[in-house]
Symmetry: C2
Subunit: 374 residues, 2 copies
């Protein structure tokens, strides 16, 4: 709630502000947000999340208020659901009994920041809630809804798309027109874009996914050269599946899965092959130390490079990525799938679904509607 | 045996040659060589080797005959003692019932090649035998015995030294004066040189070795900053040993061991750390698939690069290495240990000893004496 005195309004308050202030004094805005009650062990359950009603304060000078329309659930968030004592990571763990965080797209409802106007669409990191206040014009980005649907800024045009681009181009040093590329979790938010960028750049692409429907989509729509269902293959046959798809070996493996997928890829890497370690979803919920690849000695004999990366180290490529991706989307060269959960309260279930393969493409949550017409 | 007729000597035969030819016609030169009778399972045993007496032919036109003085036994040779069906490697497996191969230093006894003169000392890849004939002036290198003792061309000035140099500088991108470097098997032929190059380049160096004597040598003579005995620590305490030696983390891990050493290093890598995969001696004799590092996901969160290499891809650095290493040796900045086995027949035992930690520094075999005085 905004505090002021009619007699002595704070600096920057004009009559219109005062009018709004009085309005909201009368009708206090409230919203929901999702808290983490305890750190999960294994696959998270809905019980560890809590929906909390909160009052939404008025923006102070320099702040703007955003109403979320879309929010993202991503596998990496599992890494933040760990006790600060448990493991060191590149990003602070989520705090208990505070709202969770993550990518979101919303619309500015009120603004006392001259860089954001009421009605602007913005991309921020304050998902898992209906409303958020910010004064941070560095980390909140205005987005143009005419380029692509709003939610694609959480997918193909957003962090997952940039992740695919950085992984292939910057870390993987993709050789255009030459490489044979293997992408695991190939129908996922990152994987499906990685497959398509590699195809655009003239490479042979092989993908793995967890259902026949996903494999068909990869073959028929994404148009990879070979795809297989790792669930029906069985984890001990991944290496022979890869031999079928990449008879001459793999130049670049884009790893979203880890575990047996990584081991099978190492078995099939060409000399001087590169493995981009992007994620290891197979291991995020293990309660005992997972098995590492038993064949890592092949990295010596075949001079393989394995390199991990985090997309946020590579925001210098954001403009290059945006201009390429916008062009490719306009040319119809990039498609994607979305799985949409309706309503903030369903965000925990959507998040949990990521680890059960319930998403087909990008998993997103519809938090609300845009309220201000352009 | 050299074949010719006195009436019509072959091209290039002069009186001296003919005289020698007649000499050797009368006294046929014989020599010993070591064959592999069968591929080992687990740690090789002496039974799989065989000492074979062979006749040594006279050099033909373009050839030269070398008498070996020193030969090298190296862990990588275990990788060539595998059935060609078993695994693909960068180098052909040793053939059964043929002489083994490996680095050697010898002296030219006879020559019909104008690039090699009788008495020259040469470095070649025809170890495991007393004599060898070659016409290959590309892969046989003349060496200058005034630079350093002959056998050091199999160690500090040879392949192990170059391996240390390439691993640190070219693969590991050592940051002079800044990095904290961990070297496993740090008293070994490669490890001890890696430690010293890193020290020369102003880095903090931590080493692991398999006995108190080796640890003392590392601390007192090699002058690393911290060293520990991995056998007395126990394999589950390697990570905490590294925390002691590298409280701020490791920038560059030079891995000669693999297995639990690699896992412990991954636990302790700094953000953007680099792991040079040079060898994995802990795994060369395993008969079941070894366990891979269970914590490889840290390579994602901490953006770690792991990269395997083989020294022979980097012979372009040989001149740069030789000039640096010769200078450092002259300045007394590089020391090394040798474990010498006497006599070719003891080469199998020396080789097997590598996997039991019986070598302290470079393991070499004295095959014979130089016979031609300079």
């Amino acid at each position: 709630m905004y505090e002021f005195s009619i007699d002595k309004p704070p600096k920057g308050i004009n009559k219109y502000n005062i009018y709004l202030g009085i309005m909201f004094d009368m009708v206090q805005r409230t919203g929901q947000e999702i808290h983490l009650k305890q750190y999960p062990s294994g696959i998270p359950t809905e019980e560890i999340f809590e929906v909390v009603d909160v009052n939404i304060p008025e923006p102070k000078e320099g702040e703007f208020l955003v109403k979320n329309i879309w929010m993202s659930v991503d596998p990496y968030m599992r890494g933040r659901m760990r006790s600060p004592k448990e493991t060191k990571t590149y990003i602070d763990p989520f705090q208990l009994n505070k709202p969770l965080e993550g990518g979101c797209v919303g619309q500015v409802l009120q603004s006392k920041n001259n860089q954001f106007r009421v009605g602007d669409y913005v991309l921020g990191n304050f998902g898992w809630r209906e409303y958020w206040l910010s004064s941070d014009s560095q980390n909140v980005m205005k987005i143009n809804p005419k380029i692509a649907p709003l939610q694609s800024f959480l997918g193909a045009l957003g962090m997952p798309g940039l992740t695919a681009y950085v992984g292939l181009v910057s870390i993987g040093k993709l050789n255009e027109g030459k490489d044979t590329v293997f992408v695991s979790a190939a129908s996922g938010a990152v994987g499906s874009i990685a497959c398509q960028i590699a195809k655009i750049k003239g490479c042979q692409v092989v993908g793995s996914a967890g259902s026949e429907e996903k494999v068909e989509w990869l073959l028929d729509d994404v148009k990879v050269d070979h795809a297989f269902n790792y669930k029906t293959s069985g984890e001990n046959n991944l290496s022979s599946e890869l031999k079928k798809g990449c008879p001459k070996g793999i130049d670049l493996y884009f790893d979203n899965v880890g575990g047996k997928h990584l081991e099978a890829a190492i078995d099939n890497m060409k000399t001087f092959g590169r493995i981009v370690l992007c994620g290891m979803i197979s291991q995020y919920n293990t309660t005992t130390p997972p098995l590492g690849p038993s064949n890592l000695f092949l990295a010596v004999t075949n001079r393989i490079r394995l390199e991990g990366f985090i997309v946020r180290d590579h925001y210098d490529l954001l403009n290059e990525f945006h201009s390429s991706m916008t062009k490719w989307i306009n040319e119809g060269k990039i498609i994607w799938k979305e799985t949409i959960a309706e309503g903030l309260v369903n965000a925990p279930r959507a998040f949990i679904g990521l680890f059960k393969g319930e998403n087909f493409g990008k998993m997103i949550v519809k938090v609300g509607q845009n309220t201000i017409e352009e």
